[in-house]
Symmetry: C3
Subunit: 158 residues, 3 copies
């Protein structure tokens, strides 16, 4: 089992670096955490639990992620806000060859200018992580968030 | 010290799986995280710090936990809500033979239907964990929460 | 890489113990987490990002930390509150000899008497950690918090 130690630490680093990338608003680096043919989705829990396909964001391929970054940084009109991800213990739920299924609870705190920090989005990641020559990457990242109320104000990736 | 690596990872998995069980509302699985003669308590910090015995929940034995689950799922009238546990770094504070004393800070975010997610309960776990043939289990779990204000609306386990 | 396992676990323990010290209000123990010639700063993110020197707290040397503790526990008039730190995955960002640069996101939940728990402060630690005969210690701890709004009500260390 200790043979897994490196993998465990690498997973911790992956999630910590992912959070840091978003929280420091280095959005151009965000697609680099994914494989070329990745899928990124943000889905309200109610829809997910009922098997409904609606997703607040559904991006397929790294190119689609880059498109989203372009939208976020260049075309979308929105009040800017800071994000702060707090990610709980990371759990390997299954393996399929080299592919690792990983889940973790997350909380995103939002801070708008001149407003106190507030709970913005809470949920869980259900991810498919694969090894690549550049290290671990997300082949699939699914953000299932508990409240559908804030869905239409999600500008930045979770 | 690295001899402990497996134990450390197993503890992380235990807490992550515990949180996932509650957050996915799989309450029937919840007693399975405990030993047969366990004790589960949720106590306001003010009472705990003063050594007062009052507990918001005080369940002794796995049977009592099953009773509580029956109450939660079948008899208690309450507005349903989602829970989301964010657990901080897990710390081994002492050992006594096979028994491990473990502490961790936790935050539970609550999401009611059609309401934004909100801080519900924050505190620390002070737990006694023991190895069993089925893996690590809680022989004792003590949830000491910082605010007594929400005590009477705690329906689900923390 | 597994050679780092002990260091990783020790770092996790350091941050968990640091949080527990503050959250249990054992302020007299707080300076003990730092080296003799340490520096502790709490800085709003906006100032940090612009390279502005203003800091909400800027303490140099362990003696200055002890002074602050004296102020907090003996001379400052303030409504007492509980703190609860939830710290996310800890990341080693660089090394320089024995010195380790470490970053981690944190969230502090505040609970005032008779008030529900609330988000108080969120941000990231940017720390310089060094080994000492007594274990890992902070040579520098920088708390960069996202909201400047609550700055003047920060009484206890973050």
């Amino acid at each position: 089992m200790t043979a897994d130690a490196d993998l465990r630490f690498d997973l911790g680093d992956l999630y910590a670096a992912y959070a840091a990338c978003l929280d420091e608003a280095r959005f151009d680096d965000w697609p680099g955490f994914f494989t070329e043919d990745c899928r990124y989705r943000a889905v309200p829990r109610e829809n997910y639990d009922q098997g409904l396909p609606l997703a607040t964001m559904d991006l397929q391929s790294r190119g689609a992620l880059k498109d989203r970054v372009y939208g976020v940084t260049s075309t979308l009109f929105h009040a800017p806000y800071y994000q702060r991800h707090i990610i709980g213990p990371i759990r390997i739920t299954a393996r399929d060859g080299d592919t690792i299924l990983v889940e973790a609870n997350y909380l995103v705190i939002r801070t708008k200018r001149d407003v106190p920090s507030e709970v913005f989005n809470a949920g869980r990641y259900v991810d498919r992580v694969v090894p690549t020559p550049d290290g671990l990457r997300f082949a699939e990242k699914l953000c299932i968030f508990d409240s559908e109320l804030i869905a239409n104000s999600i500008i930045y990736p979770l």
